[in-house]
């Protein structure tokens, strides 16, 4: 509950920020500057709308690049008016983002600071540079803690809180575990691989998690394919469950299942999934979907 509360506040803050940027845009006279400010306001508003409490949008690269580029552009277009924003570089470094974007932000900060030379005069310019460098280091050190934790946790964390949907690189390990366990317990376990289009993948993942039993983990292998380990008492039950699941999932993309005991290589199966026709294939034989 507490986390949902936080999301609401964050969304409010995003919208207020967008509103303030829009106000700035209204008061400005430069066309290019107004365009940049509107773009930034729009970006914040869209972010507020898209924001959710999951790892669903692992912040795609253009999305993460945009704030840095907008900041640099504003400082270049009208440094006199927007020089206040120079200090924002230090805060921007705190965001969780890949290393090369951090490097790029550092370079952009250097470039924008460099271009302020004429405006500030030597003494102020040097002082500003020193202070900015110190603040950026401070921002970076605040980011490090979260960064380290993220690296470790994201490898094992589920993708959406409360949903048994796991990152794809766990699958190989879990498969080996489940194979030996099902052999010992004498139950029938099989791997079901599904492929669909990019925008249908998340809804399908939610449906898959709902339709399978709670002890059957689901995995998101890449933006287009999902996997689930199905566990049934015997092969007959597995066949009827698989049929029922396939009909209720209501997806057209290619899918294939293979029993864990017959599974030779996961990579091989994934390659075969990409090549095969859009239907459900059971252990290599075509079945009517």
């Amino acid at each position: 509950m507490q986390t949902k509360y936080k999301i609401g506040l964050l969304r409010g803050n995003l919208l207020i920020a967008a509103l303030l940027l829009a106000l700035l845009a209204v008061f400005t006279h430069h066309a290019s500057e107004a365009l940049l400010l509107w773009l930034a306001a729009g970006w914040l508003a869209v972010t507020a709308l898209l924001l959710g409490f999951d790892h669903r949008r692992p912040a795609t690269v253009p999305w993460q690049l945009l704030p840095a580029l907008l900041l640099a552009a504003l400082l270049w277009v009208n440094p006199e008016r927007h020089v206040t924003w120079l200090w924002a570089w230090a805060v921007l470094l705190m965001l969780p983002q890949p290393r090369w974007i951090l490097l790029l932000e550092g370079l952009l900060a250097l470039a924008t600071w460099g271009s302020l030379h004429a405006l500030l005069g030597l003494e102020q310019w040097l002082l500003t540079g020193l202070l900015l460098a110190g603040l950026m280091l401070l921002g970076l050190s605040r980011a490090l803690d979260l960064h380290a934790r993220r690296e470790v946790t994201l490898r094992r964390a589920r993708l959406v809180p409360g949903l048994a949907l796991w990152p794809g690189h766990r699958l190989a390990h879990d498969l080996a575990l489940e194979r030996s366990r099902s052999q010992r317990e004498g139950v029938h376990a099989e791997l079901l691989l599904l492929r669909t289009s990019r925008h249908l993948c998340w809804p399908l993942a939610y449906r898959l998690c709902q339709l399978t039993r709670s002890f059957e983990p689901c995995y998101r292998l890449d933006p287009r394919s999902l996997a689930v380990i199905l566990i049934s008492a015997d092969a007959e039950e597995a066949a009827t469950r698989r049929e029922a699941l396939w009909h209720r999932l209501d997806t057209r993309g290619p899918a294939r299942t293979v029993t864990l005991s017959a599974l030779a290589s996961l990579d091989h199966e994934r390659r075969a999934l990409v090549r095969q026709a859009a239907e459900l294939q059971v252990d290599g034989e075509a079945a009517n979907g």
Binding site: L23, L135, R181
Partner: protein, 311 residues
């Protein structure tokens, strides 16, 4: 965990030391320029930063004290220098809110930034209200706050999605209940036996109070290691409370579970830690009864956990 915090602390210490040096450098620069009246402030502030550095070195003082000292230094410096740099007020007005956001957690930083708005604007605008300046200050404050928000969201998200306990390699509380429920469902569907061993470590709380977090960590780690060595990989060790653990043994009969309990007990008794001595552990085996529903079984587990802790 402790090591990472230590590293972070050292980074801050280095930063405070750099700030002290920078201020000293500024005083020297002013001396060289012959601007003697401006020297006392940076010289005094460099001493304050030195104090902050030493404070952040000692483990006892809360790290917040050093951060506040650094913030006060920054504020004083800006307040004294701002009127002088009035040629470009829009540059310097952005510095205090960013400094506050970098040094303090989001709540106090935002409060300070909003409360101090009139102070900074009055210092710069010579008493007149500059609308442009106000707008850009507020925009910066609001937008810069988004970054700590996003960090907090990421932290909350990691906590909510991480299946493991933050302190040891056992499964965390929520995840444990979810896994146990799904294992109970699996056991009843496939008609397999299920057993849960409840473990209570009575020394854990005392270890923390008397010997510090390191002794507590050693206890936690030895329990997790002992379990990992003697159980199969798909058995689940979960942390139910601070000192209470549930070990879920799938497809295990009563005799099998008793054997595991005995082996675990022997292993823990043989493990002697530096501060706390041999590990004490109270254990009890608990199995779902015939036709017992999942909520009833969970209730029973909670009751037994409580009675183990109270013994």
């Amino acid at each position: 965990m402790a090591e990472r915090q230590g590293r972070r602390r050292r980074l801050y210490t280095a930063w405070y030391a750099c700030a002290a040096l920078l201020l000293l450098g500024m005083a020297a620069w002013l001396y060289l320029m012959g601007d003697y009246s401006r020297i006392p402030l940076p010289a005094a502030l460099s001493l304050v930063m030195l104090a902050a550095t030493l404070l952040s070195l000692t483990r006892e003082a809360p790290p917040r004290v050093a951060a506040y000292l650094a913030l006060i230094c920054g504020y004083l410096l800006i307040a004294m220098e701002l009127p002088r740099q009035a040629a470009l007020p829009s540059l310097w007005v952005g510095l205090p809110p960013v400094l506050a956001l970098l040094l303090l957690p989001l709540g106090p930083a935002m409060l300070l930034n909003l409360l101090l708005t009139p102070a900074w604007l009055a210092l710069l605008g010579n008493g007149e209200l500059d609308q442009d300046l106000l707008l850009s200050y507020l925009t910066l404050v609001v937008i810069a706050a988004l970054v700590p928000w996003e960090q907090a969201r990421q932290h909350a998200l990691l906590r909510a999605t991480d299946p493991l306990d933050p302190e040891c390699s056992a499964v965390g509380h929520d995840s444990l209940h979810e896994r146990l429920a799904s294992e109970a469902e699996r056991a009843s569907l496939l008609e397999q036996p299920l057993a849960v061993i409840l473990i209570h470590l009575p020394q854990l709380e005392m270890a923390e109070e008397q010997f510090g977090p390191r002794a507590q960590q050693a206890l936690l780690d030895s329990l997790c290691q002992a379990v990992a060595k003697r159980c199969r990989e798909h058995d689940i060790l979960g942390r139910e409370g601070a000192a209470d653990f549930w070990l879920v043994l799938t497809d295990t009969t009563e005799s099998g579970a008793l054997l595991v309990e005995q082996r675990l007990r022997q292993a823990l008794e043989r493990t002697t830690l530096l501060e706390t001595g041999p590990i004490e552990a109270r254990m009890r085996l608990c199995r779902p009864r015939r036709a017992e529903s999942w909520p009833r079984f969970e209730q029973r587990l909670h009751a037994i956990t409580q009675s183990l802790a109270d013994d």
